[in-house]
Symmetry: C2
Subunit: 199 residues, 2 copies
DNA sequence: GACTTGGTTGAACGTTCAATCAACAAGGAC
DNA sequence: GTCCTTGTTGATTGAACGTTCAACCAAGTC
């Protein structure tokens, strides 16, 4: 009888619901009915709703590699292409959900501006995990950029553009807005790299 | 007895509160106490909370020029610098609120993903007003960019970067993240314009 | 068989929320 | 003076919310 895994079912349900509806609009009742768990059991594992949020953010953070990067990079070897493969993963998400949902962290980050420090730290850790991964790709391709290029800043720009693009695509209900944002990032990269080739 | 302007006080209070706390977390009671109005009066002017949101979004949209662009462009004449003056206006907002609050539209856009069409249309109109203004600046400086440059896409990129930068600055509680995003936009523009000069 | 431990159950609690409503006030029209 | 319109008042309603709790169960220990 090890396999009931109530705690896991709760977290799994909460990950989905917080992504779909946000934190505030997801009621405990929503989570209970999706995870097929009773309120007492939930409160046996989590002191309150916010502690569940923290567990969810930890799960997101720990899932960046196995759930996001690895699937996105399946066949991609080129480090710069890995970045665009990652962005394309988000594009798929947007399309699959009919422009309804984008990046769960971005949504939560804006919703929970006044959140307590533990929550904000975890949001930052999620962003940091993402940016760090992109930065490592850029470092692998460092020779293609002009010497002294601030690769960290470029990695942050990729996140900025992803989040901003998702926001616009969702608002207008058109992936094209996301596509144009990514295309501009590509153009910027090309401009930087061409400049280096010429030197 | 013309000057009581209950309706205006309600909208004004709601604009502030939706910006500070978001839509869902702002209760009617919050709005009532800030605007010094009784619930019955509010419901006399607005059938429900969502209708108030619509009025607020209309007010934001109509305020883009007088409340945002004109103050930001006070002394700035150069069209490209106008864009960065606008972004700097958001920087001030971030600093003034101690990295707490950024763009009200961006926050609402992410919070209200599943909103009804009227709300989404108004969010899109707000974005469109912003992007349109930036696009007009770019067109004024068209000669500085390579011929055939997609100025509309560049204007959208400015919004993308503003929103993404605000999101990161707020999450990390450091303006520097916003600054770095804007600096990258500047670098991209410079690269585009330098290329044109050389031609 | 008695006791403990870890987990489960779901009704119930107190609060907060958006929304309602009957009563009332002030001004203009006639 | 009566009526109509426009606006105001605040107690009240019912639903939804996060959370609690006493009771219960099954497996393990001695």
């Amino acid at each position: 009888m090890v396999g009931k895994d109530t705690r896991g079912r709760i977290i799994h349900a909460a990950m989905e619901l917080f992504w779909l509806k946000g934190y505030g609009s997801t009621s405990i009742a929503d989570i209970l009915s999706r995870s097929q768990v009773n309120s007492g059991s939930l409160y046996h594992f989590f002191p309150g709703k916010q502690d569940l949020l923290i567990a969810v953010l930890e799960a997101y953070r720990d899932g960046i590699g196995p759930m996001l990067l690895e699937p996105a990079w399946g066949e991609v070897a080129d480090p710069v292409e890995k970045i665009f493969a990652l962005l394309d993963k988000y594009r798929s998400l947007i399309v699959e959900t009919d422009c309804g949902y984008g990046c769960p962290i971005g949504s939560l980050a804006l919703e929970l501006h006044e959140a307590d420090p533990a929550v904000r730290r975890l949001l930052a850790e999620n962003f940091e995990g993402w940016v760090g991964a992109v930065e490592r790709c850029l470092e692998e391709a460092r020779h293609r950029f002009p010497p002294g290029t601030d690769l960290r800043a470029l990695a942050e720009l990729a996140l900025t553009i992803m989040e901003g693009g998702v926001m616009q695509a969702r608002t207008h209900r058109e992936v094209a807005h996301f596509d144009r944002s990514v295309a501009q990032l590509r153009a910027y990269f090309d401009l930087l790299m061409v400049k280096e080739e010429a030197a």
